[in-house]
């Protein structure tokens, strides 16, 4: 197979892994974060649990998932599950901290003006928290692009394929063929997200 074709295919695969994982993490993490801003006790417990997940080495987490049916096993599905779990923490923590941290006087005024909790969330809390929420998504995106290289270890594909192949054959240039495009992808996404963040700052 042509080398460039393979690079393009694996890059795309890598991007798809990251995209799917982030989509899941956002779909779960953001609503959950909003709920947690309403319950202080559940907030502490949940963030602690998500924190623990973060401390598990990613390779070990892939291993843990291998025997679990449906979400585990070898292949893309378990890779996406693991990556989503990792992306959850920065997304949720930033969203929770940003919403809880909205200025008390501003929240009080909104309440005193006769806004309903839903209106306060939609019109005041989320817009004010948005730059910080986006910063969390940016951190999650960049980290996930890096972690996704490990997905190749359990047959998830992506740019990690080059890295593991290079390690197995002690061939530095093959390792770099995976590492450099992954780093570039991270840098580009970082820039794109930072630009988005600035657009929503106030």
């Amino acid at each position: 197979m042509n080398g460039w074709d393979e690079l393009a295919r694996l890059s795309l695969e890598h991007f798809a892994l990251v995209g799917a994982a982030l989509a899941i993490a956002l779909a779960l993490g953001l609503p959950l974060a909003v709920l947690l801003t309403r319950h202080a006790r559940a907030r502490r417990a949940t963030l602690a649990a998500v924190n623990v997940v973060q401390t598990i080495p990613s390779l070990a987490l892939f291993g843990v998932l291998l025997p679990i049916p449906l979400i585990g096993g070898v292949g893309k599905r378990s890779a996406i599950v693991v990556l989503a779990l990792y992306a959850l923490l920065p997304i949720m923590r930033n969203a929770v901290v940003a919403i809880v941290g909205v200025d008390r006087g501003v929240r009080d005024s909104a309440l005193a003006m006769g806004m309903t909790p839903r209106q306060i969330l939609r019109r005041v809390e989320i817009p004010l928290a948005l730059p910080t929420i986006l910063a969390g998504i940016r951190i999650a995106t960049v980290a996930t692009i890096g972690t996704a290289t490990i997905a190749a270890a359990i047959g998830g594909g992506g740019l990690g394929t080059y890295i593991f192949r290079g390690i197995a054959t002690a061939d530095l240039s093959t390792v770099l063929a995976g590492a450099v495009p992954a780093a570039l992808m991270a840098i580009v996404m970082d820039e794109v997200m930072e630009w988005t963040e600035r657009r929503f700052s106030y």
Partner: protein, 228 residues
Amino acid sequence: MLAGIDLTLERGETLVLLGASGVGKTTLLRMTNRLVEPSAGEIRFDGKPLRDWDPIALRRRMGYVIQDGGLFPHLSVARNVGLVPELEGWPAQRIAARVDELLDRVGLEPAQYRARRPRELSGGEKQRVGIARALAADPPVLLLDEPFAALDPVTRFEMQRQFRALQQALDKTVLFVTHDLREALALGTRIALLAHGRIDTLGTPREFRAARSAQALAFLRTLEEQAA
């Protein structure tokens, strides 16, 4: 801790809650729009106990201004002022006209201020916008929690003067919290001095000047100090 407080606000009057910091003035104010619920006792608005009021409907009838304005930093001056009318479903054109009218009333040139963000405003301008916002849907009652306390003396004096003129023109029922006797005397039709969780002295500014309770005298001495 507040106890044994019995106050009646007359329509159109400005009742000033005066007292030292931490005496419960703000708590009392926040009970009138149900931001705080009293542990005992009853407050009535328009003859109906507050707990029978829908909090949203109640708050829409009471404009609220706090010390630093509490403006929404992500919204323009116009959107801040027009928010309650917007929530009430006014048509856009009517909101725009109302915003301009109110900015005019509080001494801000609409064309110049409409599009500004709160961070581009001085302290005095923020409070003007805050007052315009509180008046937006024409509520019969205004609740003001030390609205001018953070302003420099010159701006504060000017704001007090204009507020009095505004009050005479609009005829709102006002509950005004302050720790500044001078401000209380200048703006209040009646002054309620809060001390030790109860009302120590209640009366018109003239009556207050003649009050002889220890707490009232302590406040009155601040006037002599400033005059000397």
